[in-house]
Amino acid sequence: MLFYLLRIVRKRKRISLKCAAMIKFLFLKFITFFFGFLACFAMHTTFALPLVISAALTGLVGSFIPFPARYKNHPYAAIYAGSFAGMCSTHLITSYWEIAIISVIGASLYVLTINMLQALAVSLAVLPLQVSLYLC
């Protein structure tokens, strides 16, 4: 009986540790996606830079920010994906809450599909279509 209880406790502890790591990863994705989005959006709305330059500059500068090695290149990809989402028109985004909601959706999709789609291939490859739809 005691052994059975101990096993349940260990199992729950393992699950909670896994959950904590997942939430931490999701939060990091959210933060990086949000700042990538915000930087790109601010550059092309406030500073009137061209769309491509603002997105590429955000991605390039973001790729030099040091992150812990255990996250591999996922934070950089999230910054770049955020900057790509930030290329959208000012008519679509009217408040910062919308940016936060888009970032939550983007980060969640990224984290949920990361194992399913093997690396970040498809989740990012879909985005050019998004931009072309926004611009046309």
Binding site: V52, I53, A56, S63, Y76, F84, A119, L127, L135
Partner: protein
């Protein structure tokens, strides 16, 4: 259909594909730096940079997603598909 769109998308994709294999570059850096360079060149030549740089950027974005998973045929077909979707 304009022939420029697939050509520019292919150029962007293949340049990113080969630059991403370099030691100092990964997919993201290659895509971002090539997009900036392409925009500067297009604006210097006065070749409608706002339109063509977006096509180029889309091409680089396709390839930077997974330079190790894709081969040259996949890259080429993705770029052509992207240019078709962009146009229509």
């Amino acid at each position: 259909m304009n022939i420029e769109y697939p050509l520019i998308a292919l150029l962007g994709a293949f340049l990113t594909f080969y630059l991403a294999k370099h030691n100092r570059f990964d997919g993201i850096r290659a895509s971002a730096s090539l997009s900036i360079i392409a925009y500067l060149i297009l604006s210097a030549l006065n070749l409608n940079p706002n339109l063509y740089s977006i096509v180029f950027f889309g091409g680089t974005f396709i390839c930077m997603s997974a330079p190790h998973l894709f081969g040259i045929y996949t890259v080429a077909s993705s770029s052509i598909l992207f240019s078709l979707l962009f146009e229509y």
